[in-house]
Amino acid sequence: MAALIQTIYSGLVLGAIYALMAVGLTLIFGALRVLNLAHGALMMMGAYVSWLTAEWIGLPAFLGLPVSFITMMLVGFAIYKLLIGPMIGKPNWETNTFIATSGLALALESFALLVFGPRNQAQPFAIAGNFQFLGVTISYQNLVIMAVAAVALILMERFLTQTRSGLAIRATAQLPDAAQLMGIRQDHVFLLVLGLSSGLAALSGVLLSSIFFIAPTFGFHPMLKSFIICIFGGLGNIRGTLYAAFIIGITEALVSLYLGVRFALPVMFGLIIVVLIFRPTGLFGQREVVRL
């Protein structure tokens, strides 16, 4: 019984990190209709930026998180300006951005391998120690992870529903042409979305590496899981993505406990196939709205 509670609790921690990552991914898909295959690499870069902040620059470790968020947000802006922006709207842009972002992922991973080497690094943004609660071992770092994820997701929700820019992002995701007719500049929305999404990827990278480690390719598997989560929750649907993140996080923890870690991904893919057969738009997905 204690093992089960412990597992569900680890699933919640994983779910919180996946939620950050998958929301970033679904935001880009929702607004730009671009599947960003560099999301995992951005997550990895975010983890290294936090590591650099403490290990190379020598700033206090807790600054790693905000520094990483801001740096990667700027990187996201640059990716829109230099890579994705020039392709959008041109013939075959869906395929082109798909290829360009996977190319970017390879380039970033090779860059990290070159600069930081293949050795695993420990994330400095971490608090040691734990305590017992109802027979479950709870580490301080896990509490930090859940707090950061909760604050980030609540702020994100606030931003999307309460601010003028947030409204513009949602409008663009729901009906791109009608949004333009409101006077919303699509290029500004896309730029902002790339920045926010990369920032969220950075947060999830720092948090995930704080319970595992940092390595040049460590973003790949979490990105695969994020894709599963996004499809599960209905691509472009933020609320659905949140629920799906926790469902997948807990499923992963349970499968790892009872069947072994190596079955986690196969079971998840099996699950997603079943969901897609019966609910092609995802568990919480809506029918595709008619575009102008």
Binding site: A171, D177, L181, G183, L292
Partner: protein, 238 residues
């Protein structure tokens, strides 16, 4: 005499390598209602999309309030007061009625007078006020149409372009929508009204242009259109 509010000269436009509009010219004077009629698929929506900047002009010129706008971005055209209310129920489905209306006043100039404008729209469409907290996807067809028009009014429009406001609505609802359109005319808005059915615009339009295969084939007043039965039979089959 000063220039009309909107002037189209030999407007050509289309999609990819297919030219839809073959050179369309007409004016919309300040405060008047001009209607564009034509069967489906003959370039009416393409015309509005070109004027509002969603589609690039291939030839000719578009002038609004004395300035050439054909190189402007969509947001600049909206900011100038030329507002396109698109066809169908293009209200943001997963937003409330109020959020939809707020988005109509997205641009800074309209934003400062948002609440004042909101009251005007609620006065014109009391049903929207009752439904203000409801998601747009839960509205009826007629309510959605009202919301789309109200959202257009939230910007500081001088000319409203309406794309088939009666499309798919029951006759009674259509009549209600048209009553509101006539109210807008009385308030001094210039209107460019696209319709398929000439009966709809007969009491409202000052001037009618008939479009067929991307060209204007006839123009005149509603009365003149009725006097020329053969035109209706030839082009619209009514």
């Amino acid at each position: 005499m000063s220039e009309p509010l909107l002037r189209l000269e030999n407007v050509q436009s289309g999609y990819d390598d297919h030219l839809v509009l073959q050179g369309i010219s007409f004016d919309v004077p300040e405060g008047s209602v001009v209607s564009v009629l034509g069967p489906n698929g003959h370039g009416k929506s393409t015309l509005l999309r070109t004027i509002s900047g969603l589609l690039r002009l291939r030839g000719g010129s578009i002038r609004f309030a004395g300035e050439p706008i054909d190189k402007w971005r969509v947001d600049q055209i909206v900011a100038a007061g030329l507002v396109h209310i698109p066809q169908g129920d293009l209200v943001f489905p997963q937003m409330t009625v109020r959020e939809n209306l707020y988005l109509g006043a997205y641009l800074p100039k309209a934003h400062v007078r948002r609440d004042e404008q909101l009251e005007r729209v609620y006065h014109l469409f009391p049903r929207l006020k009752e439904r203000s907290g409801q998601l747009a996807s839960t509205l009826s067809g007629g309510e959605r149409r009202m919301l789309a028009i109200g959202r257009g009014l939230m910007s500081r429009a001088r000319l409203l372009m309406l794309d088939e406001p009666s499309l798919g609505l029951a006759p009674l609802i259509t009549e209600e929508i048209y009553e509101n359109i006539r109210k807008l005319k009385e308030e001094g808005y210039a209107l460019l009204l696209v319709e398929e059915n000439p009966e709809r615009v007969a009491d409202t339009a000052d001037h009618i242009h008939l479009i067929d295969h991307g060209s204007v084939v006839w123009q005149g007043s509603a009365k003149e259109l009725h006097a020329n039965d053969h035109i209706l039979t030839t082009y619209l089959g009514v």
